[in-house]
């Protein structure tokens, strides 16, 4: 069953357009959302979170349209971005104290577990965190309210190889518990390690949305890696 359903999503900017973007994300699977910089990954994710006003199409979570069930849906999903700095001069403790009050499902044990796993200090402010630690802090917030779906915008950007590996292991662990993980990335090796499905976007248009194995069977040449296949496709053969 698709836990996220994006259908014919259209968003028009003067110099860029999302063109009838459609894909689904299944329960308990890890979906990698890949595309080069400016392909439309963040615009799609922002649309899925109702942060931007779309010009067409529909988005539903758990079978409910986002437009009429925003509050209920947001309680059941987690979001993280690697680049934004929330309240840079407030301590993590203060930020979490406020955020947790919005979630009935806040899991104190999970919070402490991930705090320890990520090596975060509650008395530090986001300003004092490295880029990688900021990503972990955002992830901590998303993971601590028992989200059924995690939507992560480039969560592995800025992480060292060890932390990236650790994070991908967390995704695999969450998947075992039925959590769907949808994450955008431009680091193709992340997909090779943990993704079940691939949604590939280029110039605002979905090129492929399918299981990784099917993607490899359809697009990769014999002996070619996922990264090599994508580089070749992005290099000019997409529209061939």
């Amino acid at each position: 069953m698709n836990i996220i359903e994006v259908k014919d999503l259209v968003k028009k900017y003067p110099a860029f357009e999302l063109k009838e973007v459609s894909f689904g994300v299944e329960e308990g699977r890890i979906t990698g959302f890949i595309g080069r910089n400016g392909a439309g990954k963040t615009t799609t994710i922002k649309s899925m979170l109702n942060l931007i006003h779309t010009d067409g199409g529909s988005i539903s979570f758990f079978g409910m349209p986002l437009s009429s069930n925003e509050t209920e849906i947001k309680k059941r999903i987690g979001y993280s971005t690697g680049t934004v700095n929330w309240y840079p001069r407030k301590t993590i403790r203060d930020i979490v104290r406020v955020e947790r009050s919005f979630y009935d499902s806040w899991d104190g044990e999970a919070y402490l577990k991930y705090m320890e796993m990520f090596g975060l200090d509650e008395d530090k402010t986001p300003l004092e965190l490295s880029e990688g630690m900021k990503v972990k802090f955002n992830l901590l917030m998303a993971l601590s309210h028992r989200a059924e779906v995690l939507i992560l915008d480039e969560p592995t950007s800025g992480l060292d190889p060890f932390s990236r590996n650790e994070l991908l292991e967390v995704f695999i662990e969450l998947k075992k518990h039925g959590v769907a993980v949808f994450f955008s990335t431009h680091i193709i090796s992340d997909l090779e390690k943990c993704a079940d499905d691939i949604v590939y976007i280029s110039k605002g248009r979905i090129v492929a949305a399918m299981p990784k194995d099917a993607f490899m069977a359809e697009h990769a040449r014999p002996g070619e890696t996922l990264e090599a296949a994508m580089l070749r496709m992005e290099g000019g053969e997409i529209n061939a």
């Binding site: 925003e70 309240y87 930020i95 955020e99």
Partner: protein
């Protein structure tokens, strides 16, 4: 709503928004345009909007499991609480000037507006203008602060000037009443000021909620 208001006070607010409430005590000052107290309190709120914007508060709030319009309503509630606290501070010097210092020579010889019920009503009008022009203007984009604040400064000071000048117009001297003089008419002006405040704030909030739904964050 309680949660989003807690977020406003604990995360979004600048300390200046709280400190500048004390400018309500400017109602003690003789020979000074006392409505500037309302303007300075509004300046503290402006600082708070700026502080919140730099902390990516708008997107953080929009991602919380609440309706987008509640993000706007939470901010309006915060603004109104600060404004009403400022008015409550202004009430202290106003009551003292209307009672124990009603015959004070210093205040009687004051050419500017006296602290009375009309002045409190006028302070409500200044805050109503702030909510209408600045807060409503901010939510047209959720990031541009300069233009709506400059517009508020211009309109606000023109209004302060008009309120200061009114009691010099022949027949309007009663606006500058001392003690309990013209208490009935003064009370009606206070109610009128409160009515203007409520109407401008509610209409501005509704429009801001509509605008915020359409903004790309």
């Amino acid at each position: 709503m309680r949660n989003i208001l807690t977020k406003e006070f604990r995360l979004s607010a600048s300390i200046l928004a709280y400190l500048f409430i004390l400018f309500g005590f400017m109602f003690f000052l003789p020979g000074y345009p006392i409505l500037c107290g309302a303007f300075f309190s509004a300046l503290g709120l402006f600082q708070s909007f700026q502080f919140a914007r730099e902390a990516n508060d708008t997107v953080f709030s929009a991602l919380l499991p609440i309706a987008k319009k509640d993000v706007v309503r939470g901010r309006y509630c915060f603004v109104c609480i600060i404004e009403i606290c400022t008015i409550l501070v202004m009430v202290i010097p106003t009551v003292l000037r209307m009672t124990v210092w009603a015959d004070s020579v210093v205040y009687r010889s004051n050419a500017l507006m006296n602290a009375n019920l009309f002045a409190l009503g006028a302070a409500f009008v200044i805050f109503g203008l702030f909510n209408w022009i600045f807060v409503g203007g901010f939510y047209k984009t959720a990031y541009k602060l300069g233009r709506p604040f400059v517009t508020f400064i211009i309109v606000g000071f023109v209004c302060i000037g008009i309120f200061e000048a009114l009691h010099h117009i022949p027949g309007m001297e009663w606006l500058d009443s001392f003690g309990t003089d013209n208490l009935g008419r003064q009370f009606i002006l206070l109610l009128a000021g409160i009515a203007v405040y409520i109407v401008t704030t509610v209409l501005s909030c509704r429009k801001a909620c509509e605008n915020f739904e359409k903004i790309d964050l």
